[in-house]
């Protein structure tokens, strides 16, 4: 069930949205985004780029996960208006990434009912990898 502007409140949390990430996810993303960067595909190249554990995931895929989590919450009646994030930590192989978020504001502007959220993507150890924000418009 999707949300509407009236029943969203500051402090509400985004339903958690998770994926375990490894080459199966990274290679599919590389294929559609044509992002065949060696350090995302090859452990040795990952180490050469400074990550001792080897290959690591794309920031853009984490960004996609944020967008997907928002869509799962607002459904096809809402609109994703803005998403921003910083890539602060590396997405290691077999990480379980979970998109989390909390509503920080809701207001009407530019003729739209907008809801503001703080967003992050945390790994299985609770490490925050991707602090950011989002704005969605809701009916």
């Amino acid at each position: 069930m999707s949300v509407n502007f009236e029943n969203v409140n500051v402090g509400d949390t985004l339903p958690k949205w998770s994926r375990k990430t490894s080459f199966a996810e990274w290679n599919r993303y590389a294929a559609v985004n044509e992002e065949f960067v060696p350090f995302h595909m090859d452990d040795e190249a990952g180490r050469r780029a400074g990550n001792e554990q080897g290959a690591f995931g794309m920031g853009n895929l984490r960004y996609a996960y944020i967008v997907n989590a928002l869509h799962a919450w607002i459904g096809d009646t809402g609109v994703v208006r803005e998403v921003g994030c910083q890539y602060r930590a590396i997405n290691q192989k077999d990480d379980v990434l979970t998109v989390i978020g909390e509503v920080t504001d809701k207001r009407t502007e530019d003729g739209e009912q907008r809801v503001y959220l703080d967003i992050n993507v945390v790994n299985q150890d609770g490490g925050a990898t991707c602090p950011g924000h989002a704005v969605v418009a809701l009916p």
């Binding site: 559609v32 985004n33 400074g50 920031g59 096809d76 009646t77 803005e82």
Partner: protein, 164 residues
């Protein structure tokens, strides 16, 4: 002693200047379906991204692309990236810098649909440098704007490139 910098004269000359626009191949419903299948893997993506009958019943009236969809992947003719490699910073000894994605903020206008032809233009906004975990590091902020064939704004992105 001169302070270490990876900033180039090309960057200083280009700051704030919009580059020539470039255009993506037309978006197809297959591009959208595959994108959604990759980013939702291993689960099935939402129907709005692949089921035309369902999509016709929504506010969009048809299939739309996920907001993060990139129509510029897989061009037949390669565009040289930003025109000059000097725009991405340079080490004084000439050795290439490693690049990483530092983050982005996207603001969305109209959605992308099958058949759309999206054009982009970009500019260098500003930059800063500091000593980090990876040594001397250059952060470059750029702005990229996408418009569709009707000149409607699709997306504005401010992104941070990390070079070390």
């Amino acid at each position: 002693m001169t302070e270490l910098t990876y900033v180039t004269d090309e960057m200083r000359a280009a700051q704030g200047q919009w580059g020539e626009p470039w255009t993506a191949p037309p978006i197809t419903d297959t591009d959208i379906r595959r994108w959604a299948m990759a980013t939702f893997y291993p689960e099935q993506p939402p129907r709005i991204y692949w089921d035309a009958d369902y999509a016709a019943t929504t506010q969009w009236g048809g299939i739309v692309a996920p907001p993060d969809f990139n129509p510029f992947a897989w061009p037949v003719e390669r565009r040289s990236r930003g025109g000059s490699p000097g725009l991405a910073g340079r080490r004084p000894d000439g050795k290439p810098l490693t690049g990483m994605n530092g983050g982005q903020t996207d603001t969305y206008g109209v959605p992308m649909r099958p058949g759309d032809v999206v054009s982009a233009r970009n500019r260098l906004v500003d930059w800063w440098e500091r000593e980090g975990r990876l040594g001397h590091t250059l952060y470059v902020r750029s702005e990229i704007e996408w418009r569709n064939q009707d000149d409607e704004l699709v997306r504005t992105r401010f992104s941070i490139g990390i070079r070390y």
